[in-house]
């Protein structure tokens, strides 16, 4: 593993081959907001909040730092007017689902996002997939998964597996940036095993 030198927000940063730009930044103490990233899981690239700008001199490119590989001599900007604007709208879209989520409210404050810009949605899942991926990748139980696609996509437990595995685990609960996961569990518990 060779060391890569790059610049993030004007600072010289050293990363190792195989790291993402996000990991390189975090390693140097530079914070980039994320909602779907977890160091124990494969990067997902779903929330897009960690979008940053690469400067190639003549041109710039917006990339998502959790999935963009760190490379030698990259010049990265983690904040700009445009990045902030994109993050703000993304947060506003998510606040339509989970207006009371603590991590979302903190970010909304930082980026000036209006929690009432869009009409409220029924479900407060923001599809970060942390629970699904944690259960599959770390616990290897696949007790929870996604169903459907697009705007109808949801998380759902598999009752037959959940009945066996979940009661004593529940390690995914604290990962959820909204409290949707608990709600889904409570519902399942009530329906399937008789609360």
């Amino acid at each position: 593993m060779s060391d890569l030198r790059m610049r993030i927000d004007g600072r010289e940063v050293t990363a190792t081959e195989g790291m993402s730009v996000l990991e390189a930044a975090r390693g140097a103490g530079i914070s980039i907001p994320t909602l779907c990233y977890h160091e124990a899981l494969e990067p997902h690239g779903g929330c897009r909040l960690c979008i940053v700008e690469l400067d190639f001199g003549d041109w710039t490119q917006l990339v998502v730092s959790c999935v963009y590989p760190a490379r030698a001599d990259l010049v990265v900007r983690t904040r700009s007017e445009k990045i902030d604007r994109l993050r703000r709208t993304i947060l506003e879209l998510l606040l339509a689902h989970a207006p009371d989520s603590e991590p979302l409210r903190e970010l909304a404050e930082e980026y000036g996002a209006d929690r009432n810009r869009f009409e409220q949605e029924a479900s407060f899942c923001i599809h970060c997939g942390l629970c699904v991926r944690y259960c599959a990748e770390v616990k290897k139980k696949d007790a929870i998964g996604f169903i459907d696609r697009g705007i109808r996509k949801e998380i759902a437990f598999l009752p037959e597996i959940a009945a066996r595995e979940c009661e004593d685990c529940k390690e995914c609960f604290p990962l959820c940036p909204t409290s949707y996961l608990q709600a889904a569990w409570v519902l399942l518990d009530a329906q399937a095993f008789g609360a």
Binding site: V67, I90, A96
Partner: protein, 642 residues
Amino acid sequence: MTPLRTPEELAAYRQRLADDRPADRPCVSICAGAGCLASGAGEVIAAFETELAARGLEADVDTRGTGCPGFCQRGPVVVLHPEGTCYLQVKPEDVPEIVTSSIQGGQVVTRLLYEDPVTGERAVHENDIPFYRHQERTLLEHNIRIDSRSIDDYLAIGGYSALEKALFDMGPEEVLEEVKKSNIRGRGGAGFPAGRKWEGSRNAKDEPRYVIVNADEGDPGAFMDRALLEGNPHSILEGLIIGGYTIGAREGYVYVRQEYPLAVTNVTLAIRQAEEYGLLGEDILGSGFDFRVMVHKGAGAFVCGESTALMTSLEGRVGEPRPKYVRSNVKGLWGKPTVLNNVETWANVPLIVNRGADWFTGIGTEGSTGTKIFSLVGKIVNTGLVEVPMGMPLKDIIYEIGGGIPGGKKFKAVQTGGPSGGCLPEELLHLEVGFDELTEAGSMMGSGGMIVMDEDNCMVDVARYFIDFLTEESCGKCVPCREGLRQMHRILSNICEGKGREGDIETLEDLSEVAMEASLCALGKSAPNPFLSTLRYFRDEYEAHITEKRCPALSCKALVSYYIDPDKCRGCLICMKKCPSQGIEGVRKQIHVIDQEKCDACGVCFEVCPSRYDAVVKISGEPVPDPLPEEERMIVKVAGDE
């Protein structure tokens, strides 16, 4: 069939085919493409078979159900060989006359020929018909000549000679050079130069490598890939084998949507035939090159047309795209170098190999070489598939080939590039169609859909339609696409329903920026195009909807009203009987009145009111006139009424 083991055996077999089927042998070709089948081509084929058998001609005259020649508007299309006589809109009851007059009598059945709508002149051969005359059909020309289920038919017109040439006369480097020199750009959407894509894979260190045909044609209103797959599957297969040989792949996939059952059948059959003939499998024609091809059916997800989603799907997962920061020609299927090209791109490969890059670059423009097949649909006289040299102006395609707008209506826009393309207005009709030209104008080439719209089409509704489509088809993985499109769709629907508000356009612009800049894949990145292009060229329509609650095209249901013009209504009861909401009051010979409370603006009354009365009026943004009081509704008999 024993497999052909050498180029010589292939040549000998081809010669035998030529001897067996002299060029002057009579043959009836009937288009058996989806459009013609829907118009009754199956019955026409059966009628020919029965009629020829009844007259004892079945041994002398071949009957052939072929691929689509493109003129769907006038299907079923029948072409008689060797004369090349082209009959249109043929019905089973026309068949005995065709056999008697044309096949036995050598005469032309004039009434079945194309008739020019202006001059009334008849056209005997395909190429005399304006629809065909202005085309340059290098890909589609074979469709009507071959039975798509017969490898012999394909071999007889020179099929697999490009493969032979690539394997024995050229070698992979030379093929690659030729493809690069041809400057062919991908026909599936982004228009990336195919040669560079191939080279990237060939140079990638990793193995194995893969080649894939993207036949997940999902653009609504586009069916050129289907026509090629159904009509000439071997041409695509031949291109794929050559591609595999060039980049050093031993396995290829055809990813074809299961909604095209005939395409699945034909391409599966083609693979089996090619294996039997030794043109696929181990040691092809004794060259030492092994190659096999598998068919993978797409299970219905538009996003799988996106390359990484397609590959994810091939691996047996839900078709969610992956980040593309390392290109898929280096790290694609199973993480290995993979060349994925669209059906039409692959179909061009044998032509480029056989005729050379110079021939190919001689067609089209510098930036966009070769021909392109467009599916010309919507408000157009001649619906169908048209293959033209790149660079042809839009107006020539729409007016010279397409025959213009039907019903004396006025052209409003042409939408190109599929759901994430854009709408181009009348002032851009001079635009020459090419990858860069269309992109600059705010649209794109896409896979070649071309949907013509007239004055009755509302451009806000069109934007809403495409955003709705893309919202339905979004995979849901990333926020800008899933949530952004959800909100865009909501706002556009509100505007169409008269609930638009000040500031909606700006919000839509913000959401567009996020989708374009921050989405994971091309679906999200290009999704705002339908909105942005209609806003760019038809902003006044948005404003009329938002501020005046008026739909200028009289199309948005919530913004239109119908009433019956008392001066024109003859009290015939037709609209009253057909109204699904029982919303029309009236008795015979009394002026009918629409109950605005019950009316849900379905427009059935407008449609069924006899044209000699034309009494139903459609309005938007203005109040409905008060109905006549009941005592004044009696119709006084007018001279001349029946």
